[in-house]
Point group: C2
Chain length 198, copies 2
DNA sequence: GTCTATATATCGATAGAC
DNA sequence: GTCTATCGATATATAGAC
């Protein structure tokens, strides 16, 4: 099954991922997902008997995992850590302008929507964020010996990225992502110059 | 009219602000707003003939302005800038835990929801963010002489705050806000020690 | 200005023919 | 496993009595 059109279940997942990412959870209807996936409406409940919530939980965990691996691969593509961080934010700035400020973080919009209203989906988003922070902590740990500093840098990088996505999408301007990249590079530089926290 | 219960229009605005903040734009129905405001449904269209969009635009601009002034007042309540930033994020960490991770940024959820779907509301959120960055730029400008640095610090502080809100709400943990505060304090310290960018 | 009733559309979800 | 018809609930929005 490696070559042809993806199967129905995959197309539904893909359409749901794209729509939740751009329009959020409440803003995305199952009918629209079926249409974009070119699948009959009933197939959604055939493959996802838990309905909208099950579909959303799967897309959060799947697309969250993929996005985390993509960012990590981007970071690992440059040897010097400070240059790597700068390059990653620069790539994000370029990408968000190229996709017309539509496709940024795959789960942030849903995360804010469901934080106070849907415990199952809230936990799914929290798990993804924790996965990202853990991966970033390991990556920074290659250069920053203090474990607390490595985790703080990872957490800050993800927060800076999420905040920059909010401002960039709202203003239709890649500049916030560039500012975020310079700030993160400076934070990392400071950590490298001062190995143990003062 | 300074003493008694707020008038109907104000109650509708207040209920809309709280609901949009917690549950987002698509997740909030006008019926629910009328109920929480203890106002008849028809009054919404009496005071906001433009319907849901007009009501949302007013709440974005009004609550966005108030929130910005609140944060600025918080920053100005402490003389030393580094201590002030630390104190502000610490206050945010305390507040978000106290309100059960429901009330964070009044416009971020809506901003992400409407960025690709509603141009009127997108512009409203962009205007508010720009207002915040401008105010922060002026505040940082009291200690950081380079204008570019002052604006970068302001933009970074808002991005860090927004990103920390996403992670704190999702994980129901105030720690991301504390990490954000320490990182921002460090960024500011670096700017103060090195007055002109390298 | 206040409030109710209703119109029209769409929501998530289900049933059942094929 | 595919697809359509439809359910009941809810959405935004409007009309009109009071």
């Amino acid at each position: 099954m490696g070559q042809g059109q993806p199967d129905t279940r995959s197309r539904i997942q893909g359409a749901a991922t794209a729509l939740f990412r751009r329009n959020g959870y409440s803003g995305t209807g199952l009918k629209r997902i079926a249409t974009e996936a070119d699948a009959p409406f009933g197939s959604i409940y055939h493959f996802f008997p838990g309905g909208k919530q099950q579909l959303a939980e799967e897309t959060i965990r799947t697309s969250g995992g993929e996005y985390g691996r993509m960012v990590l691969a981007l970071l690992e593509s440059v040897a010097d850590p400070v240059e790597s961080v700068t390059h990653a934010f620069e790539a994000a700035a370029h990408d968000i302008a190229a996709n017309d400020y539509a496709d940024a973080c795959p789960i942030a919009t849903v995360a804010l929507e469901v934080a106070s209203t849907n415990e199952v989906l809230r936990v799914a988003t929290a798990d993804v964020f924790e996965e990202w922070v853990g991966a970033g902590e390991q990556w920074f740990g290659r250069w920053v010996t203090d474990p607390n500093s490595a985790r703080s840098l990872a957490c800050s990088m993800i927060m800076m990225l999420e905040g920059a996505f909010v401002l960039s999408r709202a203003s239709r301007d890649p500049e916030p992502l560039r500012v975020a990249g310079r700030s993160m590079a400076e934070l990392l530089r400071a950590s490298l110059e001062r190995p143990v926290g003062d």
